[in-house]
Amino acid sequence: MAEITNSDVIQLLNERFGNKVAGLNEPYGLLTIETTKDVIIDVLRFLKEGANTGFSFLTDITAVHYPERNHIAVVYHLHNMAAKIRIRVKVFLHELTPNIPTATVLWNGANWMERETYDFFGVKFEGHPDLRRILNMDELNVHPMLKQYPLEDPNRVDKKDEYFGR
């Protein structure tokens, strides 16, 4: 495969999607774009199957909670192994309606990644074949990585300040 650079990918995305792809940035050389949930599957399909893009490997799907902006960002990492470049695709959702189409139509490997993202952030991947918790115990009634929930376990008894002379 011919050499592909970040600027080539930016140009291809601009030609195909215009202003639906925004927030172009290259922190630490990692090409990063933002898009919307309406076109996310089209963008991912274009990056995976497009003639000159070739991001065939889905490295990860995860999310970030921004409570001060009421956002949950779903983040896709793709890898073009032949050209040795990566891309990061972000979609910002409102934290009360975190719904987004599933990427399992493109990669079977997205199945567990989306289950994990659902487990920890409560993102609902519409069309996912089996969206249930994967790592946490089934009885857990919260999505623990959302920032309104405390990290610490409430049953902890040995971390009182008096035990540490505070």
């Binding site: 946490n136 115990m137 857990l140 623990p144 990290l151 610490e152 902890r156 008894v157 040995d158 971390k159």
Partner: protein, 202 residues
């Protein structure tokens, strides 16, 4: 080289009696207190059973992390756990006497641990080895059980992160003392049943 070798041989022969004197110092378990006379020895059944049990405990190693690695060293030839009658590990809870929980127990695993405990026959003892099994340790988080005593009763806690093999052996010695001195009626007492009921067992 030859003269040096000869001197060494002579030296070691001179020291030989002392060497063998040290190695023949073998410990034998004391008999329990009782009445002794010519041709008989009388003591209570509890003490005899406790003595036998405490030197033939079959542990079930429930090892999930680094404390389990320390236990492997404890089982090895250098520390030799088998000296205390625990050569035979029981990987089935049905035959085990002592549940040794060594490592972090995630909340998702807690029903598994509880089931293993329930499958053990009475009398059964539990040892929490290391900070994680005792209190959750450094993992003060929503996904980790903050000490196995939230779900099953624990007899001995071994501190350390991870504890050295000496500490595990010391904790095992404490278990042996409990086993030796336990009354034969303890497991049928109301107090014991209430304690189990507080864990939702039976």
């Amino acid at each position: 080289m030859l003269p040096i070798y000869c001197r060494f041989v002579v030296h070691s022969i001179q020291n030989e009696p002392f060497l063998f004197y040290d190695m023949s110092d073998i410990n034998i378990v004391d008999a329990p207190p009782g009445i002794e006379g010519s041709g008989f020895f009388a003591t209570s059944l509890d003490k005899v059973i406790g003595l036998a049990r405490s030197h033939s405990l079959w542990p079930l190693p429930f090892a999930t992390s680094c404390c389990g690695i320390e236990f492997m060293a404890t089982m090895g030839s250098h520390y030799d756990f088998g000296r205390f009658g625990s050569e035979r590990l029981s990987f089935s809870p049905r035959q085990a006497d002592l549940l040794m929980v060594m490592g972090t127990i995630a909340k998702k695993m807690s029903p598994v641990l509880k089931q293993v405990y329930l499958q053990m026959a009475e009398p059964r003892w539990v040892m929490a080895v290391g900070a994680c099994a005792s209190s959750g340790g450094i993992f003060d988080t929503y996904s980790v059980l903050q000490g196995i005593d939230e779900i099953i009763p624990v007899d001995v806690y071994v501190p350390g992160c991870p504890p050295r093999p000496e500490a595990i052996l010391d904790g095992f010695g404490k278990i042996q003392e409990l086993v030796k001195n336990e009354s034969g009626r303890r497991r049928n007492s109301d107090q014991y049943k209430q304690m189990l009921a507080s864990y939702g067992i039976e």
